[in-house]
């Protein structure tokens, strides 16, 4: 019997041989990595972080979409790769008149769409009209409220002619934009994709003028005017663009193509980078910093990023309806310790809401660390209310290890410095969003990334009743100061008003700024012409790949 049993075993092992045979067959397929072949091909392999929701510039809302759209389209102006200051784009030159209210753009005659059609001033009018069309429901339509009467057209009711939106084409190549009031950063604003042109015949052939989600953005359909054209889009896999030969400045463009990979998992993205699959990553996990610093000291970059991580107080309900409690909570946070000991990712402590240096504005520090004063304020509140301690307070945050770490650190600081026990409450993302916008919270996590490099992109959200305010906080003096900043033209005057806003925010503390973001990324030394910028914008036409080590 023993012998019989054994005779079955060789047959079974045939299965194993087949398995290993298949494995070894596949071995022959090993090939050089993307990064190795990229220099000859001049193809950039780009970690995109997430799949963009839309490739329609008038419907897009994400950083990922910006990264793609800035390759496919170009606005009236373009950006300096280092400073992001406006450079000629589709417009060759411009004149500013009427004390900064009127911009006359002269469009270059050789500007073309990727299908060869000429690009004219009427294309821009069509595009502005489309994004402002109330039926399209464009999330960033309000970006164009800078234009005279754009808001009244967008709010509906009036026709384009009746509304008299401040956009006029004097001829095929001259476009005049009239603003509702002077905006010192108007040209920078034009680099937001909301201002990018779209190709009318393509839009019309897909009925996309006021219809969301038509197929005009698919490869083979998309007609753009940027340095690259869309060649393939495999969802959750890769978006590929190749050099657009009809681009007016094609000579400057050195890359032959870019491949964007929407790798969401940070560890997978890091592995992709380390194996030579990517030239750069969208992010790096904070717990990998020490390892990467040691292994890739020249490739790990900490770059400033225009964003603030903060908490919102709900000032509509006790105890945060009292400024003393808000101040006490704010004063008892050691932001430096939070950044150095907990986050350890190169962030800087936020003592203002606007990141210092935004557009050249350096606000005076307002949110300080003062335990004694914090205790004093809280005691005075408790005495007045006849309480021994604060009622149970919940800190709401969306489920994430990173947010949890910060929340736990603050929990400890409040316990230590104020003797207050708070409860941490994590929620799934969409539940969190609807809870916060419904005002059903006492203290909640938040973050804000600027849309343009001006303090206005930060400070406007605390205007009374603004959709992003969500704290219930309203302050007349704040609104006045903000209005003044919006209508002044002189830099000194504007900075003064913005400073006033910052001071009121620090005194009233409807929010609790914690730290300023940094953009943490791995970037291969062969990537050149790439500079750290505040908005993480990198005009691709200046980017190229070269062998030699960095100078």
């Amino acid at each position: 019997m023993e012998a019989n049993k054994q005779s079955a075993l060789p047959a079974i092992s045939i299965f194993w041989i087949i398995l290993f045979g298949w494995t070894w067959l596949a071995l022959g397929c090993s090939k050089p990595s993307n990064v190795e072949t990229a220099i000859d091909e001049q193809v950039l392999h780009f970690g995109l972080g997430a799949e963009p929701q839309h490739l329609d510039p008038h419907l897009a809302t994400s950083v990922a979409a910006h990264n793609i759209l800035s390759a496919l389209l170009e606005g009236l102006v373009s950006e300096d790769p280092k400073t992001l200051k406006p450079l000629p784009g589709v417009a060759q030159k411009w004149e500013i008149s009427d004390q900064g209210r009127q911009y006359k753009f002269s469009l270059r005659k050789n500007a073309r769409w990727s299908n060869g059609d000429p690009l004219t001033a009427h294309d821009f009018i069509y595009s502005f009209r489309r994004i402002l069309n109330p039926n399209l429901g464009a999330p960033y339509a309000s970006m164009l409220y800078a234009l005279k009467n754009a808001e009244s057209f967008h709010q509906g009711g009036k026709s384009w002619q009746e509304a008299g939106v401040g956009v006029v084409a004097l001829d095929e190549h001259t476009l005049v934009l009239t603003l509702k009031n002077p905006i010192p950063y108007f040209l920078e604003l034009l680099n937001h994709y909301a201002w990018f042109p779209v190709h009318q015949p393509t839009i019309e052939s897909f009925g996309a003028y006021e219809k969301i989600g038509t197929a005009w953005t698919k490869p083979g359909h998309f007609v753009g005017n940027g340095p690259f054209s869309l060649t393939s889009h495999q969802i959750n896999s890769v978006i590929e663009v190749t050099k657009n030969q009809s681009y007016w400045d094609a000579e400057t463009v050195r890359l032959q193509g870019i491949r964007f990979y929407p790798i969401e998992a940070v560890y997978t993205e890091e592995r992709a980078y380390r194996s030579g699959f990517l030239h750069l990553t969208q992010s790096v996990s904070a717990d990998r910093i020490d390892f990467l610093k040691e292994k890739y000291p020249d490739e790990l970059h900490f770059e400033p990023y225009l964003g603030t991580y903060f908490y919102r107080f709900n000032v509509r309900a006790a105890p945060f309806d009292d400024v003393r409690v808000r101040q006490a909570f704010s004063l008892s946070i050691d932001r430096q310790r939070l950044v150095d000991k907990v986050l350890r990712g190169g962030q800087s402590p936020a003592t203002t809401f606007t990141p210092p240096g935004t557009g050249g504005f350096f606000p005076a520090p307002g949110f300080a660390y003062d335990r004694a004063k914090a205790r004093e304020l809280l005691d005075s509140y408790l005495r007045e209310k006849g309480l021994d301690s604060l009622p149970q307070i919940e800190l709401t945050y969306n489920t994430s290890e990173g947010h949890k770490k910060v929340a736990e650190a603050l929990h400890a600081m409040w316990k230590e410095n104020l003797g207050v026990e708070i409860r941490l409450l994590n929620m799934e993302w969409k539940v969190f969003l609807s809870t916060i916008s419904g005002g059903d919270f006492s203290l909640a996590r938040a973050g804000w990334i600027g849309d343009y490099v001006d303090p206005h992109t930060f400070l406007q959200m605390w205007r009374s009743g603004d959709g992003l305010n969500m704290t219930g906080w309203e302050n007349q003096s704040y609104d006045q100061a903000l209005r003044l900043a919006e209508t002044s033209t002189g830099t000194a005057k504007r900075w003064e008003s913005f400073q006033r806003c910052e001071t009121i925010l620090a005194e009233e503390a409807p929010i609790l700024p914690l730290y300023f973001y940094v953009h943490l990324t791995l970037r291969h030394p062969s990537v050149r012409g790439w500079s750290p910028t505040l908005l993480d914008h990198h005009p691709y036409k200046y980017v190229y790949l070269a062998k030699e080590a960095h100078p």
Binding site: T61, I212, T214
Partner: protein, 306 residues
């Protein structure tokens, strides 16, 4: 046999209807909606968007409309990626998941069944302990540990396979191995248990007494009965394998279906949730039917019961 198939397909209709209905209302009652985001969009735009997707109508009307579209085979556009139809997204991702699933399934069978058989034949020897020990380790080791481990060995250290992506045949090896080994562990244990029970049956002893060879006993007599529990497990397991695995897809950056299952729920992508759930339900129903047919072929008792 054809009656069995027909009656099962008939039963599938109410099942699918119940699943579609439950899923429809459960997704709608979850807090938050597809258009909530941190950069909150103005209320009037949200209203426009909701009108565009028909979310402004009464819920029951939406439901009727949805079922009507479903009957026409129209799953609608995804809420999260409106430029894509749900059916288009499933049609792109399913071949990827199918390839990965079939390869993993083959690996799981090739390792699991022989492993379990050897263990049963050589009970209480090292040839039993070794595969069973490994399979216990395989069950305990989650794929998010095994995956990076395989990448570390075969990609980082030995540079044999790419660590991620789904662009060529060499990309298939590590993910299918990760997923396959996990299922192989289960199959090996089920095979062993089934075989042990069968090998003690009288008819096996009779076959041995008649002088049948061990190979013949194993393949002709024991395997038929011994593999029954495995076959029962294989139907749903195969459906699970070919409908994608979120973890494997994240680790290896594979554009499969699993990601849609998970993220659609997080994004409140109503049409996508319904699309993926129904797709999975149909897969399960079909594969269960296949399992029943195979069982009927293997087991005369089951054939008669039906």
């Amino acid at each position: 046999m054809s009656r069995l198939i027909f009656s099962r397909l008939l039963q599938a209709i109410p099942t699918l209807w119940v699943i579609a209905t439950l899923t429809f209302f459960m997704t709608r009652f979850a807090p938050g909606g597809p258009f909530d985001s941190e950069k909150a969009i103005p209320e009037e735009i949200k209203i426009k968007l909701e009108a565009h997707f028909g979310l402004d109508r009464p819920l029951f009307e939406q439901y009727i409309l949805y079922i009507q579209n479903l009957l026409r085979g129209d799953l609608g556009p995804s809420f999260k990626y409106p430029e894509w139809e749900v059916s288009e997204l499933i049609a792109t991702a399913f071949p990827v998941s199918l390839t990965l699933g079939v390869l993993s399934f083959i690996i799981a069978l090739l390792i699991g069944i022989p492993g379990g058989m050897i263990a049963a034949l050589r009970r209480n020897t090292w040839m039993d302990y070794l595969p069973m020990g490994l399979s216990m380790a395989g069950i305990c080791l989650p794929t998010f540990v095994l995956g990076p481990l395989l990448i570390f060995v075969f990609s980082t250290q030995l540079a044999l396979f790419p660590p991620l992506g789904w662009y060529g045949a060499s990309d298939w090896v590590l993910p299918s191995l990760t997923l396959g080994l996990f299922y192989a562990a289960y199959i090996a244990r089920l095979t062993r248990a089934g075989m042990l029970e069968t090998l003690q049956q009288d008819y096996i002893r009779t076959a041995r007494a008649k002088g049948a060879s061990s190979w013949r006993i194993l393949t002709k007599h024991a395997a038929r009965g011994g593999l029954l529990p495995v076959v029962t497990f294989l139907g749903p397991a195969f459906a699970g394998l070919i409908s994608g695995s979120f973890v494997i897809e994240s680790i290896f950056f594979i554009p499969g279906l699993g990601k849609f299952f998970v993220t659609a729920a997080f994004n409140r992508d109503y049409t996508m949730v319904l699309g993926t759930v129904l797709f999975y339900a149909i897969l399960i129903i079909c594969l269960n039917l296949v399992v029943d047919l195979i069982q009927a072929l293997l087991d005369p008792k089951a054939r008669q019961a039906k």
